[in-house]
Each structure stands twice: as C-alpha cells, then as structure tokens.
C-alpha cells in the first residue's frame, strides 16, 4: 500500500480535481473520517493478488457491436428540455477561460 499523509493540502487537491470546493468546516470534519476509512481499507493490501487478474466486471463481458446506422434518438427540443441555459438550440455554458 502507498503510505501517504492525508492532510488538508491533499484533500483540497483531490477536491479540486473533482470540482468540489470544500469549506473549512467540511475539511475539518472529513479529514479524520477519511483517514479512518483509508486506514481500514488498507486491509486489502494483505490479500495475495500476485498473478491475479482484475475483475472489472463480475461476469465476463464481451464487446458489443452494432451496424453503424442512424437510429431515432432524442430531438433537439427534448435534449434541451431540462436546461435553463440555452440559446438558439444550443446549451449555453460558462466561460471556458
């Protein structure tokens, strides 16, 4: 297991990657909780997994292919029905930079 120091800086870095801004009180609350959880989870480090293949799915799954043919899908109106931010039939987003 990678032994790491889970501190305020690391939590903030991870949160930023996940587009979350945490308040000071959230960081204070989460820090010991996350440490306790990771400590407990580090138990899996003991499992003998040399030469064991990962199971990304519980059952073996094969690639699915279909003909490259246009099929009915949502109309533009339906796709935009749930947004407040639209203009001329497009989604309107925040500034990119």
């Amino acid at each position: 297991m990678v032994w790491l120091k889970l501190d305020k800086e690391l939590i903030q870095k991870v949160a930023k990657n996940a587009r979350l801004s945490l308040t000071e009180s959230e960081i204070k609350e989460f820090l010991p909780q996350l440490k306790e959880i990771l400590d407990s989870f580090s138990e899996i480090d003991k499992a003998p997994t040399k030469n064991v293949k990962p199971s990304f799915q519980p059952l073996e799954i094969k690639n699915v292919y279909r003909e490259d043919k246009v099929e009915p899908s949502l109309t533009q109106e339906e796709a935009l029905a749930n947004t407040q931010h639209k203009e001329k039939g497009f989604f309107k987003g925040p500034r990119a930079i």
Partner: protein, 447 residues
Amino acid sequence: MKVKEYLKEVKNKKVSVVDTISSILEEAKKLNKEYNYFNTISENQALQQAKLIEKNPKGKLAGLPISVKDCLCVKDIESTAGSKILKGYKPPFTATAVQKAINEGAIVIGKTTQDEFGFGSFSINTELKPKNPYNKDRVCGGSSGGAAGFTAITKHPHIAIAESTGGSIVNPASFCGVAGLCPTYGLVSRYGLIDYASSLDKIGPIAKTIEDIQLMLSVISGYDPKESTSLKDNPKKDSKVKEIAIIKESLNINPEIKDLILSKVEKYELISLPTVKKYSIPTYYLIAMAEASTNLARYCGLRYGLHQELKGNFDDYFSSVRSSAFSKEAKRRIILGTFARMAGFRDAYYLKAMKVRSLIIEEYKKAFKKFDILISPTMPITAPKFSEVNKLTPLENYMMDALTAGPNLAGLPHLSVNAGFIEKMPVGIMYITNHLEENKLLNAKLT
C-alpha cells in the same frame, strides 16, 4: 388482495383499475405525510393510464400499481435519485426495466425515496427520510428504503422496482419484512438508471411474496441492445436445490438473529468464506467510490437538474453548483473515489480492489461447486432507530454492508425474505446462488 388474484380480476373486468389506482394514490399521499416513501407521486399520469387499461386490459401486469425507485428514469416524471442536484429533472425517456413493466400494463404511481444516488444503508442521506412501517422511530434500511417501506405497508396489490449496488435491495427488504431479489449482474438492463457504480448496479423487484418477485423478474429481465453490459443469457431452467450451506462467518452476530436464522433451515452444512469476510467491505467501497466519482462527474448544472446563474469560468461554475448540491456523504465518496483513481494511487487502491474482487468471486464459485444455495442473515441487526444511526461514523455505516457486499461484488443473485421478528422488528434471511441460477432461489420452498 394478492397481486395474482387482482390481475385475474382485472382481466375478467371484475375490478376497476381506475378505482384501485385512485385508492392506492390516496393511500400513498396520506402515508407520505407521515412516512416519506415517495419523492414524487405521479397522480395524473397514473390515472390517465388506468383509464386506458381499464378499457383494454392487456399484458402480464395489466392494471398493476408499481412504484419505481427514484434513480430509475421515467419519462416526464421527476427523477432525482434522491439528490438535490437533480431537482426538477424530468427525463425525456424511460428506463428499459420500467418500460418493459409499462408495456405489460403496469401503472407507475410514483418514485420512491432513497439515499442520494444509493449512498447509504439507511435512507437517511437524503431530504425525505422514509420511516419503518413497524416503528416510525426506526429506519427502513437503504438505499431502496421507500420501496421496501411502501411495499410492506400498502393495503393494495403492488410491486416495487428497486436497485442494488452493495445491498440496497435486500437490506431494506430485511428491515421492512418483505421479499427482495437482487438478480445476476446484467440480467436486467441498466439503461435509464441513474448510475451509482456501473460494475455493481443491478435492478430488481421488492414485493410481498416470492411469487410476485418471480412475476416482475420475468417481465423486466432480458437482453437490451441499448446497454453494453446486458446479458444475452436467460436464467437457467434447473431449479432443483440439493445442497445448502450456511456461511459460517455470518453467524458471528446477535445470538437472537443467529438462532432465528438457524431455525429456518432444516438440513445444512457450514461453509467458511474467509476472503469474502475479510475483504468484501474495503473492496466493495473502493470500487463503488471510484466508479461513483466518475459517474457523478456529469452533474454540473448545465444540461439538467439544479442550475445557478452562469457566473465565472466553467471551473468556478461547476464547482459552485456541485458544492452547493451534493450531500456530505456524496462529497466524501467523490473525494475517496477520485483519490483511489489518481496517478500514483490507482494501482494500490483501485486496481488492487479489482484483483481482490477476482479472489472473492473465485471463493464463491468454489463453494457453488458443492452447494446450490448459501445462506446468511441479510443484516447483522434489525432496523435501528434514527437516533442510533445518527451517531455512527461513516466507517461504521459502511460496516453495515458486511453480509451484503460479497454477493453484490460478485454479481450473484441473492434474495431476502422475512424469517420472523425480534422485539416486533422483522429479520431477513438471505439466500445466495450462482450466476443465472435465480430459479433455484425463486422455486425452492424457502421459509
């Protein structure tokens, strides 16, 4: 009235579908003030559909009221998966499993309450917290709490469509004294499900009887070209159960629950599953959180759900919407999941967990060479009080999935039925079988 009798009477036009639907909607609305089983009650749509079906009752479920867990999309009915970030979202399409039930004449009466995105074992990580039908001071279990609570309490024929990632069908079924089946991974299409963890999510029924579970499963299961993990195989026909074992490690619990479970099984052997016992919880949570953190990346206040005024650049805007809407539990899981997938940690956490999952599957497969069914209590406790749950740390919360994480990680079908009561609260017994052996669970004369 039982579901089967009701369906027969609808076919013979001896009972009014409109009256039944009106009556169950009134019941649901009245109960909701006290018990919080529904996020949305879809009165108008249900009544409209009832009128059509009353005239022409066609299909295996013609006229049957069904409830749908809030994480399954139903066209034009608000579907939030119990999250503030999806407030107001009315899907432009219906999930395959629900559509199949509708095609057979089922009528959706509403969306049942749940932990936000399925993040919880007690249905308390959400705004409307469902209360246990046997005691309002106690929880329904989770995350399909509303589905199980309403199934237990309703006086009408009804079946719920629920969803499980790490135990969310059998856990509330156990706490509320009803039956719940989590089928083989991939047997029921996940198309239209608001995902929690894609390699773990399964859709399945909660009902009063095994007969009702069987009926609903026969309708909602089957290959779906719209879903890449959907299985092409059907459940195996063979339903003979010869050898049964009780999972030894699962009996290290409250002796009253242990005795009750043992009294329900006549002839059995004990089997030890040490890998499942030791590694299920960390393996399950690492995989579930890693997958959840990617699935939740789509919520940014742009295309659906909660919106804010467009201000700042995209980083500021997305972060502001997400931080204001996700609950603390969702934030914890996103942080842990993102962390487990980050460069430098991925191999140690995420990949390692996927390998341990292989060991867990292998241990079960070995057991199924000898035994048809493995038995354990569904939950280590009966439904706790809200006040007790509020005192648990996040890690203590996760430990509640000790008995259910294993079969969920391995994608094995598992069924919980009521085994009896301790101090007036229901206790569930769980039957686990091999992939696609659902018929062994449903046809065996269990309890």
